[in-house]
């Protein structure tokens, strides 16, 4: 059974069309990732599914319950970690946890086993004000507060934005363990590397889902051939590449340039080399590489 099913969801804020005809389903005990740049509509989608916002049109059901009418029941069974830290900074770690447990008519004792592994990490600081915690600790506390009522489904809106790489890695390990306890997770992130850690991902752009599949399938279905090249002057190269846009999709990737060709490489690379020569571009070897999820996303968004 699908824990979330969304069909033809639409939402506008005045002239801004935040969600356009969004449809998807999330299965039980799945980590479902929503990936996309800022302004793609991720938070709007989360706000609708967590019953904080009403859609303009379309249907959304969480745990089989309509978000429009049965929001109070939905709220009992979901946990939500908003994009920004939203616990009381002037309450201590422990007070925050007790507060939210009470709001859910639950108690810390009851559901300690579920959060024990996370709680053990922040317990030494339980008398500290939540506002005085480090970024990673704040997220762990927020996660504890979101799990304290033993939800069936957990929503995490950009949980790792602004968190250091070590804490990010830890956080994803925690998510995995949460999933193992049978809790479904819907998570959004602007980090492409985190997307591969999800069971399935939805690539979002301009309020639309461009692609929805497992990370493996998305990479497998990469349309075109990806090459990388190095050059001492990437800015000069990017300037010149404008003239070659009809033949390929290109974008800077770190210090390299990634180019996607849609013709067989045997034909495309020699032609490209001639073009570079004509424009006096010195460059390293043009190598074919395996695309990662970020290449896939850019191809889907920018590609012809």
């Amino acid at each position: 059974m699908a824990v979330i099913s969304v069909s033809h969801l639409d939402k506008s804020y005045g002239k801004v069309h935040a969600l356009r005809d969004v449809s998807f389903e999330v299965d039980e005990a799945e980590v479902f990732g929503v990936v996309g740049p800022d302004g793609a509509g991720k938070s709007t989608l989360f706000n609708i599914l967590t019953t904080l916002l009403l859609p303009d049109s379309g249907d959304a059901a969480v745990l089989g319950l309509d978000v429009r009418t049965r929001y109070l029941e939905i709220r009992k069974h979901i946990g939500y970690l908003p994009g920004t830290f939203s616990l009381y900074p002037d309450l201590t770690v422990e007070e925050n946890l007790v507060f939210f447990a009470t709001m859910y008519q639950s108690s810390i004792k009851e559901n300690m086993p579920l959060i024990a592994s996370i709680w053990s990490q922040i317990e030494p600081f339980k008398k500290r004000f939540a506002g005085k915690l480090s970024g990673g600790m704040k997220q762990k506390l927020a996660l504890c507060c979101a799990l304290i009522h033993k939800p069936v489904l957990l929503f995490l809106d950009e949980p790792t934005t602004g968190v250091d790489p070590v804490s990010r890695k830890e956080f994803w390990e925690i998510l995995r363990s949460i999933k193992q306890q049978g809790i479904s997770v819907m998570v959004s992130t602007p980090y492409m590397d985190e997307a591969t850690l999800c069971d399935r991902i939805a690539l979002m752009q301009d309020g639309q889902i461009m692609r929805l599949d497992t990370p493996k399938n998305i990479i497998r279905d990469f349309n075109g051939h990806l090459v990388t090249l190095q050059t001492p002057d990437i800015f000069q190269l990017l300037k010149v590449m404008g003239q070659y846009a009809a033949h390929c999709t290109f974008y800077p990737y770190g210090e390299n340039l990634h180019v996607i060709f849609y013709e067989p490489l045997e034909k495309a690379i020699p032609e490209f080399e001639v073009f570079l020569q004509q424009n006096d571009i010195t460059h390293g070897e043009i190598e074919q590489i395996e695309p990662n999820i970020e290449d896939c996303f850019i191809e889907i968004v920018k590609g012809n």
Binding site: L52, L53, L54, L72, S86, D90, Q105
Partner: protein, 450 residues
């Protein structure tokens, strides 16, 4: 129930930890009570007067020393010419110019009409108005005593002229003139005094008799009696006009301003603190985190309402105590009634705070909305300026002003000892306002975030 208790506990924890809020809650009333009643006093002291004395007689010297002796005036001395005096006024060195004509004393003795020219700097209209009244009183008193000792004094009139550097059109506007009619002879004078005594006594008796009756009605009757007396003998009546101020016998301005301050205090806590508190939760995003929990909107609002109601009442109680200990104002009516009234008013203000917080998206917006309404309420309520002096349309606006209803009810309960029956209207209006505002807030919150 457990949820609401938790919400209340959380709110108190936060209030007690917010050291700034805590300090404001303690310091604001103290500062208000210790400073405001003294600074917002309608009594004018240290009015600077300069004299242009063209007469230089014993009589004018006498008058000058009377001014010097008064605690209300600072005698800035005598200057040679009017020009010199006006220059001083333009330089803001003096507030009043009193000019005696050359044949002042002579005319008085000859029983010819004499004019004393009083010029007031009307930049501060209150000072000009009250000050000129004081000047006239001093002059009047002088002639009264003189009339008693010297049998023959001529009628005197003092023209007051309000001088305003900025608004020259007001310069020669004669606003009031004191016409002191003295008697023609000693017998007449005596008669007058006897009569005035008798009238005063009569008035006093009348007052004692009517004390139990309703104030408005009484004042009206007293006025009628006075008018009747004046009709009988207009000249005499003018001499014996005595004012008796009921329920505030010394006409102590503090008796009015202190209950007003209490009301301002309660309003600040009710509307300001509540609105800012909720909007802060919006800013922090905590309200979102609470909104995804299954608690209901009314539980949330109740969890905010109870702590701030308690805070407001505690603050109010402290204010009452200060009022009593510091200013010696005793509550004439029932204490329970005072607190009941305040509770209803606080509910109105809390509802207003909630409603504003549902519209504002940050503390700055909330602050401006509350501040704007607060100023409107205060201006119209009659706390700082008398309602009676307002135009008719302003008094219609007051029908939508909870502070005005609260003020009028509080004043009568605290100063006059009114009972529930006397303030039933105010009670009902405030209760209706409380219900409407809180319902509006609840609906507004449901709409914005279910």
């Amino acid at each position: 129930m457990r949820v609401i208790l938790m919400l209340i506990k959380k709110e108190f924890l936060q209030v007690f930890r917010n050291s700034l809020l805590w300090k404001i809650l303690i310091l604001a009333p103290l500062a208000e009570f210790l400073l405001f009643p003294y600074t917002a006093d309608y009594e004018i002291k240290n009015v600077k007067v300069v004299f242009v004395d063209h007469d230089r007689s014993t009589m004018t010297t006498d008058i000058l020393s009377t001014f010097s002796a008064s605690k209300y005036f600072i005698n800035e001395g005598v200057v040679e010419s009017r020009q010199e005096a006006e220059a001083l006024m333009r330089a803001d060195k003096v507030d009043f110019i009193v000019e005696f004509p050359a044949d002042f004393e002579k005319s008085l003795v000859r029983q010819e009409p004499v004019k004393v020219h009083i010029t007031a700097n009307a930049i501060n209209t209150v000072k000009a108005g009250l000050g000129s009244e004081y000047v006239q009183t001093v002059l009047g008193n002088y002639f009264m005593t003189m009339a008693e000792s010297t049998p023959k004094v001529s009628p005197i009139s003092a023209d007051t002229e309000y001088d305003m550097d900025v608004f020259s059109e007001l310069e020669t506007a004669s606003v009031s003139s004191l016409a002191l009619q003295s008697g023609e002879g000693q017998d007449m004078q005596k008669m007058q005094l006897q009569l005035s005594e008798r009238m005063q006594r009569a008035q006093r008796d009348q007052e004692l008799m009517e004390r139990q009756a309703e104030k408005a009605e009484q004042a009206e009757r007293a006025k009628q009696a006075e008018v009747a007396a004046r009709a009988m003998n207009p000249q005499l009546a003018q001499l014996v006009t005595t004012n008796v101020y009921w329920f505030n016998e010394q006409m102590n301005y503090k008796n009015l301003i202190v209950p007003g301050l209490l009301i301002i205090l309660v309003t600040l806590i009710g509307a300001y603190v509540t609105a800012l508190n909720i909007v802060r939760e919006k800013e922090l995003g905590t309200i979102e985190q609470v909104n995804v929990t299954p608690i209901k909107k009314w539980q949330f609002l109740l969890g905010k309402m109870i702590p701030f109601l308690i805070l407001g009442l505690v603050e109010f109680g402290a204010g009452l105590l200060i009022m009593n200990l510091l200013f010696g104002i005793h509550i004439q009516g029932s204490l329970l009634l005072v607190f009941g009234l305040t509770t209803v008013y606080l509910l109105v203000m809390l509802g207003l705070g909630f409603f504003i917080s549902s519209m504002a998206s940050n503390q700055l917006q909330a602050m401006f909305i509350v501040f704007f309404l607060f100023i409107l309420f205060v201006m119209l309520s009659g706390i700082l300026t008398p309602v009676e002096g307002m135009p008719q349309w302003a008094s219609y606006l007051n029908y939508a002003n909870p502070m005005s209803f609260f003020m009028s009810a509080m004043k009568t309960v605290i100063l006059k000892g009114s009972t529930v029956d006397n303030i039933r209207t105010q009670f009902i209006v405030l209760a209706v306002m409380a219900v409407v505002l809180n319902a509006a807030a609840l609906i507004s919150y449901r709409e914005t975030a279910k």
